[in-house]
Every structure is written in structure tokens, then in C-alpha cells.
Amino acid sequence: MEAAGQLAKEGFEVSLVEKDKETGGHIKDWYKLFPDRRNSSEVRDYLEKKVSSKSIRILTGTSIEKIISNKESFSLVTQDGTELKADAVIVATGFDLFKSARKEEYGYGIYDNVITSADLEAMFRKGKITMSDGMPPKTVGFVHCVGSRDEKAGNFYCSKLCCVTAVKQAIEVREHLPESKVFSFYMDMRMGGAYYEELYREAQEVWGINFIRGKVSEASESINNKIVIKVEDTLAGRPLKMELDLLVLMAGMEMSEGGNKIAELSGLKKGENRFFAPLDHHIANNLSSMKGVFYAGTCTAPMNITETISHARSAVSEVVNYFNNTNS
């Protein structure tokens, strides 16, 4: 959306194809954003305003089914047969959340009170955090790195946002349920962003969140419908077994299904992390292996919103350069 808005601002005619019924991607499902916990709707409103230009044609609820590359232009055909002619293409297919049921040992989709970070955001949006029986949880645990830094899941990479999201959500749980006890089980706390470390400190000092360094090995269900977890507290050097009312899985990021489909249709190269592989990670991060095709955002790697918007803007800059060079 940011790239479309910027392109329109530069005077280009833009077609924006969105597979969902509405634009906004994952942000429309989120409650508040880290690190300042502003309402996500503010950013979404900004983006919606950005694509309200008359130069942008938005096609929602459809996806690209065919890509034909001509010499210096592209023909893209949507599901309903609409043909879009373009001189350049920006791929901004984003990411999918890791399907937490793949980590079978955590019992997502099996145990009633095992949820994902996205499920918790939905609860925040409704203003009510409950267990499956409708009661508020007294003890909540967060499992970091679900599907990230995980050889078994096939994802060696760090999804980068889950640590700070867990910190944000842990605080929000305490805000909603002041009597609750919150535990966060992490491998490393990767607070590599502006004001992330401060948020982490606040979580400990102000909100009393218990951060335990250790990977949860398994979850199961007790006769009282509590979630029983096993984890090694690696700082104390001891195994730990505890009962929780609610277990939240911090699902990582993966190449989106839409992105995979585009990769298949176009032959664009993917990296070892299965995201799109930019031409050069340092100096050509928006360029693809195909002339006239550019990347914006998390289709190339996990990014936060700030980085995604910056990446989209730099993609537009590359498109402008491309046309200047093509036309000169």
C-alpha cells in the first residue's frame, strides 16, 4: 500500500492487487503496535489514505493467475480474467504466520487453551481475554520462537518481531488482567529495535512479567483443562514443569502462500529461507532477478512495519530509477 501510494505520488498509474477482501494485510488483525503501543488502526488509516489516490486502481479479493513477461512490459491476469498491463511490477506479497499446529508438541488445534499470538490479538480487539470456558486466565505463558530458529520446522532464521510482540502482549495481558501472572519462555531476547529494550525493561520492572530462558519442550492438558508445560530453565539449570491457564504461541513468519504462487508463476528466485531472494542483500535489496520486477516488504525477509514502509519507499525509488534509465 505504501509503495502504491508513493508511486501514485510520483505520477504513475498503479494497479494494486490484493487477495483478501480488504487491503491492510496483517495489520488489520492487530490490536496495538510495539514499541509505543499505538493503535494499529492509525497506521492502517494512514495506508488507506495513501491508496485513495485516483491514480490507484485497487482490485481486492483476487490474485494473479498468470504473468507474461514481454520485452519491457508485463501482462498480469487475475483470477477473474482481468488483464493488467504494466511496465514494472512490485511484488509485495508479505508473509504468512507460521502454522503453529506444525509444532505438534504444543498442541495447537488440540488443546483448548493453547492459542497463537494472532488469536490473542483478536481477543485484545474484542477487549476480552478468556479461556475456552469463557473465564479469564490467571496464569498465562508465552512461547517464543514457534517456527523460528527451528531446524525441525525448516526455518533457521529469526522472525525478529516475535520477542518484542511477546513483550508487548505480556504487558497487555497484565493491563487487561491485573491479577494475572505472566511467564515468557525465550531462547534469547532479541530486542534489536528502537525502544524495544526499554519495553522489555518496563515489562519486568513495572508489570512483573517473568522471563524464563528456556525452550518449552511439550504441552499437554491436565484433567482440570490446565495446560501442563515442560521447559528447561537454562539459567537456573533445572527442568521446570508448570500448569498454565493459557499458553500463547509466538508464531514466526514464513514466505506467504501468495508469494510462493508468484514465484512459481514468474520464476523469481527464492532464498534458502524460502522468501524471495533480492539481487543483493546489501545494495540491491529491492531488485529481483528479473528486469522490471521489484520487491517491497516482508516478501523478502521478516521486517517490522517501520522497515516494511521504508523498504516500500526504496522500492519506489528503484522503480523511478529504472524508468529514468530505460527512457534515457
Binding site: 499446529a101 505438534e104 508438541e105 498442541g107 495447537y108 488445534g109 488440540i110 488443546y111 483448548d112 511439550e218 499437554s220 492438558e221 491436565s222 484433567i223 501442563v228
Partner: protein, 353 residues
Amino acid sequence: MKLEGKKAIWSEYQKEIADDRYFYVRSCVRQNFFPGSETAFLKIMRKELEKDVYEHPCHTTCTGIGYHGDIVPVETAMTVVARQFSLMTEAGYENLVPSCITSFGLYTEILDTWHHFPEVEEKIRKQLKKATGREFSKPKNLAHASDVIYKFRKEISTKAKFKLINKNTGEPLKVVDHIGCHYAKMFPSKGIGGAEYPYVLGGMVEEWGGKVIDYPERRHCCGFGFRQYLVQANRGFSIACSKEKFESMRPFKPDMIITNCPGCPMFLDRWQYVINEMEGRRYGQNGEGIPVFTYEEVAGLVLGYDPWDLGLQMHQTDCEPVLDKMGIEYDPDEKYNTSIPDGKVKISGLVNV
């Protein structure tokens, strides 16, 4: 608990199990632990299901316990296993069915290793040839004996004389299914239902009328972790493991435990007796223990075999509570009766079937 979630996982972890002509390899230890089980398997397969099951008299240990106990080097284990394969090849069979979970795990591991490192397979072939003059083909199908019973669970159900149902209440018996660690924990794709929510025993239990209990320590070792038990100084860990499981399953009030590994029924059975002796604590209802069975014993009971022919008198935790619930008639006086009129010793009614 959402059963649909488990069903989704079960549907992903299915495997091909041969339909007939099995080369059956017995366990080193099962005939000492629960001698009726393997015999019951053979009777069910040959008499009830009319399948061709072959046993070779020259079959030896697979060395799995020694291998996992760090006593037998992997190449030695591979060469011994290669010899078992050569016996199978010699007999004209292609479908290998081990009775032991650790054997199944070792065979699976070796075949997978050879798949990824064919040069290792070649080396083992040369070693076997040099040592014994033998050659071999790899099995076309490898399934644990419990996989085979799982495959034919419906056929067994059609012949059932008894169900896993409490005849007094009409309720399904609540069954703890305990899966041997080497069944799927090493290679989840090789086990029915995978490693986290195995279905191989659960499928039998459900088909025969029972209900499986999911309790927190369901994945925990039975107590026969080789280094826990085989090293005498570690035996406290062994009984502690079993106790952890009993304490965890107790609130669910299980009627029985079903297992598919040589060691698991032994330890879950014997340690209940020991814990009772040590602490006066029992885990079943009405001051009783929780009866522990092998899957062959359960299949045999369902098919109406005599409990004492199945060798249930060898269990240290009495099995009678389950027999009573299922409505199986038995003669208590025959339980330990080994004498027969002609003076010969009666071992089991299932022998020589």
C-alpha cells in the same frame, strides 16, 4: 480437547503396511517378560486372519539394547541386522515384522542411514559377505507387529467375543495407551499417528470399544530407559519415571494400560507392585493396581482367548479387574496351575499353534 485436531495429525502420519507374507522376528526379552504375547500374535495372524507368517530358527538378537546402551558399535549392529535381512531373503520373504519396538527403531534407523549413505550399506554388505558368505535384499516393507494388528483391527473386531466395555455400566473402558519410545520418537513418519499423538494403539482401543485417555505424562518414558535400568545404580530413576506416569494418569481413573514395547508393560506392571510395597500406594480404583497389557494380550482377550493361556498370570499387577469389567469368565484356580493329568508341564494353551 479437540479430537478433530488429532485426527488431522493422524491423517498425516499413515504408512504402508504389507497385507500378507510376513517375516516375523521375535524380541530378545519378551518371552521372559510376557511369554504369551508373541504366541498370541502368531495365533491371531495364522488362525484368525489366515496370514502367512514365517519365523526363521537362526534369527538372533538385533543388538538394539546393546547399541542404545553404548555397548555395541553401530557397524556391528548394522552387520547383525544385515544378517537378519539375509535370513529373510533366504526364506523368500520381503515384509519384515519385528516384535520389539527397539528392533523396529534400529531397523528403521539403519535403513534410513543406508538410504542417505549408500557407501555405508556397501561396506556392511562386504563385511557380511566376508564374515558369513551371506548376501541380502532389504525389506520392501517394514512394520512393527503392532502396526500389523492395527491394520487388521477391524477384522479382529468382527470376530470379537468381548469388547473393551464395562459390562456393568455399558461405558467404554478408559485406556492409557503407552507407546514405546523407539516406535516413532526417532522417525515420526514411520509410526501410525506420528510421535506426538501416536494412534497405533489408540486405533485398536477405539475399534474394540474402549476410550483412550490423554494425560499430561503420556509421552514420558515407562522407566525402561536403558541407562536407567540396565545400570543398577540408576534404577531409582527408572521407578521414578514410572511413578511420574502413574501419578499423572491417576486422576483420569484409567481401567487399564495397553503397550506395544517389550519393556513398557514389564516396568509399568512391576513397578506398580514395587511402589505399593515401598509406599503402600496403588493407582487403580478400589485399592487395586492398573492392569497393564500388551496389545496382543488385549487382542487375545477381545477374541475370547483364555486369560491364563495368554499368560496373564505372569502379571504382577492383577488383571482380573479388567476381566471382570469385560465380562470374561475365568477359573481362579487355574491361574497358576501348571500341572496336567498326563504329568507334562502346561506352559500355555497357545503353544504350538
